[in-house]
C-alpha cells in the first residue's frame, strides 16, 4: 500500500479533470448528507435548551405540540386562553417550586412581546445555568418598562433608556414583512421604556420583548375587540389607577421541587375542575414534534443518499470508461508487479476520500458563514456543532460504499489480459 499510494496518486493526477468532477459530485452528496444531520442536531439542541428547567407547560386543553410552540417558541396564534383564577388555583400547589404566567399576542417590529412577571428572569435560562443574565440594565419594575432579548437589541439597534411602542397582534415568523406589521394598530399612546437588555442565550428568549402582565392589561384598557374604542382614551399616567390584574393567560410554565412529582402534578392539572386544562411535559411534546419532523428528515436523507448513489455511479463510470485508454498503463503496472485491482480500488478510495473531505469542508465553511443568519432567522445555533458520532458513521458508510463501488472497475480490469495492453495490436 505504501508503494502503491504515490503511484495511484500520480496516475489519478494524470486524469485529474474527470476524477475531480467525480469527487465534486461526491462532495455535494456528502455536504447534503452532513447538513441534514447537522441541522437536525442543531435544532434538537436548540429546542432542548429552550425548555431547560421547565418541568411542565400548562395551557388550555388542545394540541400539546401547538401549546409547546406557542408557549416556548411564541409561534402561532393561541385560540384559547386560561383564566387568571385557574392560574391562582394551580399556583397554590405546594409541589410547585415556581410558576411563570405567560400572556402573548402583541409584537414589536415582528418580534413577539411576552407578558410575564419579573420571576421570568430568575427561572429561564439557556440550559447551562438557571436564570437569565443581563447584558445591560435590570428586570422591569415599573408599569411601562420592557426588557428585550439580545437579538432584538442587536437587530433593531436598541439600548436601555430608549422608548418603544408595541403593536397589537401577534408577530410573524418572517420579521422582514414590515408592511404586514404596519396593518396592526399601534399602542402609540402608551410607550415603553427599555430598562434591560438580556445576554444571548441561543433560545427564543433572544427574540422576545418581555413586559409585565399588568402593562399588557394597561395598554388594552381602552381597547375592545382588537381595536381602540372610539371616543375613549385613557392616558398612560391614569392607567395605574385601574385594576390591572390580568384576566386571561396563554400558558403557564412550571418548575417543581422534585422532578419525580411531575406525573402527579400533571394528573392534578389535567383533572382540574374549573376549566379544561392540559399540562404537558416539554420533552414528550418535543418527541412528538420530532416524530412529525422525522418524515421530512427521512425524505431529505433519502434524497441525500440518492445524490450519493449518483455521485458514486459517476465515479465508477469515470474509472470504467478510463480502463479502455488505460489498458497499456495497467498492463505496464502489472508487468512490473503492481496489483492493478488494488490500484483501481485505491484510486476509487482516493477520489471518495477527496470528495468526503471537500464535502466536510463545505459544510464547515457554510456552517461558519451562515451561522449568524441561521441564528437570527431560525434561532438555530450551529457554532457549537461538531462532528457527531452519527455524522462520522454516515461518512464511514460513504467511504465503504465508495470502496465497494471501486471493485467494479477493479473486477473489469482483472479480466483484461496482459498481452492486450503490452503488445501493439488493435
Amino acid at each position: 500500500m505504501k508503494t502503491l499510494l504515490p503511484l495511484a496518486w500520480a496516475s489519478a493526477w494524470n486524469r485529474r479533470l474527470s476524477l475531480t468532477l467525480a469527487a465534486l459530485s461526491i462532495a455535494l452528496a456528502v455536504a447534503l448528507l452532513l447538513s441534514v444531520t447537522r441541522a437536525r442536531e442543531a435544532a434538537q439542541t436548540h429546542f432542548a435548551q429552550s425548555v431547560a428547567g421547565v418541568d411542565l407547560v400548562v395551557g388550555p386543553r388542545g394540541s400539546p405540540v401547538q401549546l409547546l410552540l406557542h408557549a416556548v417558541f411564541h409561534l402561532g396564534d393561541a385560540s384559547h386562553t386560561l383564566a387568571w383564577k385557574s392560574y391562582q388555583a394551580l399556583a397554590a400547589d405546594p409541589l410547585i417550586a415556581w410558576r411563570l404566567p405567560l400572556a402573548l399576542g402583541d409584537s414589536h417590529q415582528g418580534f413577539p412581546v411576552l407578558g410575564s412577571t419579573p420571576e421570568y428572569f430568575r427561572h429561564l435560562g439557556d440550559g447551562q445555568q438557571q436564570g437569565l443574565r443581563f447584558a445591560d440594565g435590570r428586570p422591569f419594575a415599573g408599569l411601562f418598562e420592557a426588557v428585550i432579548g439580545a437579538e432584538v437589541a442587536a437587530r433593531l439597534g436598541y439600548r436601555t433608556g430608549q422608548q418603544i411602542t408595541l403593536q397589537h397582534g401577534a408577530s410573524h415568523l418572517d420579521a422582514h414583512h414590515h408592511d404586514e406589521d404596519a396593518t396592526h394598530p399601534e399602542h402609540a399612546d402608551k410607550p415603553f421604556r427599555i430598562v434591560g437588555v438580556l445576554a444571548p442565550t441561543g433560545t427564543p428568549v433572544d427574540r422576545t420583548l418581555v413586559v409585565s402582565l399588568q402593562a399588557l392589561e394597561a395598554i388594552h384598557l381602552d381597547w375592545q375587540g382588537g381595536m381602540p374604542m372610539p371616543g375613549l382614551s385613557i392616558p398612560a399616567e391614569a392607567a395605574g389607577k385601574f385594576d390591572l390584574t390580568p384576566k386571561h393567560l396563554n400558558a403557564v410554565l412550571i418548575g417543581l421541587h422534585q422532578r419525580t412529582d411531575v406525573f402527579r402534578v400533571q394528573r392534578q392539572i389535567n383533572a382540574f375542575g374549573g376549566e379544561p386544562l392540559m399540562a404537558i411535559l416539554p420533552g414528550l411534546a418535543m418527541d412528538e414534534l420530532w416524530h412529525l419532523e422525522g418524515s421530512v428528515e427521512r425524505t431529505l436523507h433519502g434524497l441525500a443518499w440518492l445524490v450519493m448513489a449518483a455521485g458514486l455511479a459517476g465515479l465508477v463510470a469515470v474509472i470504467v470508461a478510463s480502463l479502455g485508454e488505460r489498458r497499456r498503463e495497467l498492463a505496464i503496472l502489472r508487468s512490473v508487479g503492481a496489483g492493478r485491482r488494488r490500484l483501481l480500488v485505491l484510486e476509487g478510495a482516493l477520489v471518495t476520500v477527496a470528495g468526503i473531505a471537500l464535502g466536510m469542508v463545505v459544510v464547515e465553511a457554510a456552517g461558519h458563514l451562515l451561522a449568524p443568519w441561521l441564528r437570527t432567522r431560525l434561532g438555530m445555533d450551529l457554532s457549537g456543532a461538531t462532528l457527531s458520532i452519527e455524522a462520522l458513521q454516515r461518512v464511514g458508510a460513504v467511504l465503504a460504499t465508495g470502496i465497494a463501488a471501486s471493485l467494479i472497475p477493479a473486477w473489469r480490469a482483472s479480466r483484461m489480459a496482459l498481452a492486450d495492453g503490452l503488445l501493439p495490436r488493435l
Binding site: L7, L333, A338, G339, L418, A419, L422, L423
Partner: protein, 220 residues
Amino acid sequence: MAPAIHIRDLRFAWPGQNAPCLTLSALDVDQGEQVFIQGESGAGKSTLLNLIGGVLVPRQGSLQILDQALDALSPPARDRFRVDHIGFIFQQFNLLPYLSALDNVLLPCRFSATRARRAGARPVEEARRLLDALEVDAGDAARPASTLSVGQQQRVAAARALIGRPELILADEPTSALDPRRQDAFITLLGKEVAAHGSSLVLVSHDPRLASRFDRCITL
C-alpha cells in the same frame, strides 16, 4: 547452474486459431549468454519473447525459465516471477507517461523486494547510475517520461529492465525507432551493462546487422 531458458516442443496459437503461429522444437540459453533471434516480420519473434516473458502462455510443450515452468504458475504468481527475474524492454517501451524517467526506472524495485535488494542499499543511486551509463542526464531523468525523445525513452526502458540485476533481459526490437548509428551505440551500451550484471540477454530483431555483437544467433 540452472539454464536461463529451457524450451522443448513449444507450440503457440492465438485464441480461436488452429494453425500455430509458432513452433519451436528446442531452445536453451545459459545464464550470462547473449542471444540474438533474427527473423522476418510475422515469423513469431515477438510471440516467442512474450512466451519467454510469461506475457503469453504456450498451448503445448515445456517452457522453463530458471528451472521454473511458467505455465504452472497462476497469473499473479507469473507476474511476481516476471518482475523478480526478468527485465523486459518492450518494442514500444511501455513507460508510464506521468512518472519521471527516474521513477519509471525505479518501478520494479517498488514492487519486487528481490529487485530492490539486488539494486543495493539505495535503489535511487543505482537508477541514477544506470541512467548515467545509458547517457540520460540528470535533468532529463527528472522530467516526465512523456516529454522525452524516443531515443531517451528507449534508454529509460533499458535502465528499467536492468535495475536490480534480473537474471534474464528480454528485448523486443529495441532499436527499431533509432537511426543506424544510434542503434549501434545502444546495442553496445546494453551489451556492456548486461555483461556487467552477469545477466542473460535475448534480443529479437528483423535486422541481421546486429547479430555480430552476440554470442549466438538464432533464425526463426
